[in-house]
Amino acid sequence: MSNHALRAILNGQAVPLREVPELTLASFREAILEGTRGGARLACLCATPDLRLFAVLADDAEKRLRVAWARLPGTRYQALTPECPQAHLFEREIAEQFGIIPEGHPWFKPVRYHLPWSDLPSPWGRDEGSLPAVTDFFKVSGEEVHEVAVGPVHAGVIEPGHFRFQCHGETVFHLEIALGFQHRGIERAMLGGPHALSLKQAETTSGDSTIAHGWAYCRLLEALAGVEVPARTDRVRGVALELERMANHVGDLGALSGDVGFLPTASFCGRIRGDWLNLSAEVCGSRLGRDWLKPGGLHHDLNPAMATGLLPRLVKSWADTRDAVELLWSAASVVIRFEMAGRLEPTQAREIGLVGVPARACGVNLDVRKDHPFGPYRAHPIPASLAESGNVHSRAWVRWLELIESQRFLSEALEALAGSDPDPRAGPLPPLAADTLCVSMTEGWRGEVLHLALTDGHGRFARYKIVDPSFHNWFGLALALRGEQISDFPLCNKSFNLSYCGHDL
């Protein structure tokens, strides 16, 4: 890719705003279209209250992020989505947050059903009394066509969202997903920060990805403060992230078994997931890794005695995990159900900018740990785990391969930590650089987590943007359902296991 109009930066590199090129709207547009045509991904597109657009292109092959911005002449511009489908949800988000209208957007609907932050009117004429998910759903009509509406409150212990299926008998022609019920206003809360609650809000952006989001936030602050984190501390953070991945992947494989009625693995994994969470709790007191990390270092270090104590538990939990998961792959009834459901094509995955497990399940070779390595993954790389078929089986299989890799990483890391003294406790961070941009990405268990911050003249957040992997991937679930039986929705849904609150922010 030859995109000289943009500034190349590394993951977690702070760059003064004056060094980020300002492009005309026309060349900004051309740079994004040319970049994505050349294989880059649109990792982030967002607006600021003073009507500027910022873009982050991920050039995975070159291990670089490319950034630029453009000033909008008014509140309307020509939508990118018709030529760059990856932009579809970003452009709707920009419209909802700031009242900026991307003209010619083919699927122009609210994202989270809130009013604009600025004084501009809602592009959809919404007001204080408007209800969420009240919109013009795509409708199929004809004989024997019917519509199924599900949610927001679902029939289990699960977050809220609304699903509209257009069905012909059992077959799903189209699924439309309306979210926003979980919107807590995190990006708005970050403005003027970092505040005392900002780390907590980052951690609870998606609470099952506490480390993935918490770490992205910490690295962002450290880059803006010009603080380098010691290698041992980074290794501990890696342990935190991989334990989070182990617990969630094990839970997902168990839940997938449950959805096809294979109860041994479902029961075992439900329990083993807890064993992994309890390893995190041993270090930081919280099963979900709350307050493990803090900007500049760690709230809770993993000292040599503790690392030594965790090693046999790692071995035991891994033996149980293998035993439970390997049963799955030798059960024809499971494998066939997995293989016959929820297929996505690699071309679709690339076009819509899928990330994480569902992308790798289509053979798309991307993983932030490999492409934009951060923390311990520079010295201790983890390869991307891939499958080819893009169906439920591939998404399950990628999780299994990732469990193997994470277990290897954990085992090596704990050995190393058992033989090295903890770093001194990190003090408070110095003030953050003023008028600076930083993009920080991690690879959570769902996929790419991106945090972007722009600071003002006093080093406070003038804009804070969070992109959870679910933001990219919900549309992938909708596509995977096309032509499927509606009764397979739970199975397909589970194979993506996306975050509602991570999307809704």
């Binding site: 409150v153 029939a155 007191g285 709350r290 049963l327 059960a331 509602y500 609150c501």
Partner: protein, 265 residues
């Protein structure tokens, strides 16, 4: 090529995985050393005029009362900020997981006073619901932290069913609601409708800091500050998120199935 798993493999796995349901509430399981449970305050150690803990608390959970610092567990995120800020080590978290309370006022930890744990539901309610409690879970802005730890009680390790408690798929089948999240504006109507759909007599349980008073989002205009802003709440279970043991302790206490020590009554 795949083939069906011979049953013997499944049985061998079953044997290797063993019987793993916890013996709780006969025996309280060991919690990690760094687990943060009920805060303990030794006000006699507090230097004159010191308000380091209150200033460090990101959710304004700590107020300085006449007897010293007092912690509102409805606000507390159980983060280490207060204990790290205290110059004298006067405030620290104990390993006591028993945190559930019956009213918002009872959630206050005051130095020198016993924490007022949840009492059992009234006799008439207990007659109707005591042996079989069906709950509809509503996440209303929860981060999936409380949700996963509520869900985990259904796994074989905790086996919630043995206590007669079950999560059900419709409010029509439920005796009450278990609510997580600060109640986002966008969930207000759905929560109200779900509550209205539960037949009388009904109870409401608020799980987690968000559902009690808004948690890390208590200042945000996008949320309403917890479940009690929309429906009457009968049981509060603090934490961010509460440990599954804390949630189960609250549920069993509410059903009158626990003694003071947190074991079977």
């Amino acid at each position: 090529m795949t083939y069906e798993t011979p049953m013997i493999h499944i049985l061998l796995s079953r044997w290797r995985q063993g019987h793993r349901t916890l013996t709780y509430p006969k025996v309280v399981p060991r919690l990690p050393e760094r687990f943060r449970g009920l805060p303990r305050i030794q006000a006699e150690k507090c230097p004159e005029g010191c308000r380091a803990c209150a200033d460090a608390c990101p959710t304004e959970a700590i107020q300085l009362g006449p007897a010293g610092p007092q912690v509102n567990l409805g606000r507390c995120l159980f983060c280490p900020e207060c204990s790290e800020a205290c110059p004298e080590g006067a405030i620290h978290y104990s390993q006591d997981h028993r945190l559930a309370a019956s009213t918002c006022d009872d959630l206050m930890v005051v130095p020198g006073e016993d924490y007022r744990r949840a009492h059992a539901m009234g006799a008439e309610l207990k007659r109707v619901l005591g042996r079989s409690l069906k709950l509809r879970v509503v996440s209303a802005g929860g981060c999936n932290g409380c949700e996963v730890d509520v869900n985990v009680l259904g796994t074989i390790a905790w086996d919630l069913g043995r206590f007669g408690i079950q999560y059900v798929a419709s409010p029509r089948h439920a005796d009450g609601l278990l609510i997580t999240g600060p109640v986002t504006k966008n969930m207000e109507l759905a929560l109200r409708k779900t509550y209205d759909a539960v037949p009388h007599p009904k109870i409401v349980i608020a799980v987690g800091a968000c559902a009690i008073q808004g948690g890390p989002f208590f200042r945000q205009a996008e949320q309403l500050g917890g479940a009690s802003s929309v429906v009457p709440v009968d049981l509060y279970i603090p934490g961010c998120p509460p440990h599954p043991l804390t949630i189960l302790d609250g549920l069993l206490r509410f059903l009158g199935k626990l003694g003071t020590e947190g074991k079977r009554a």
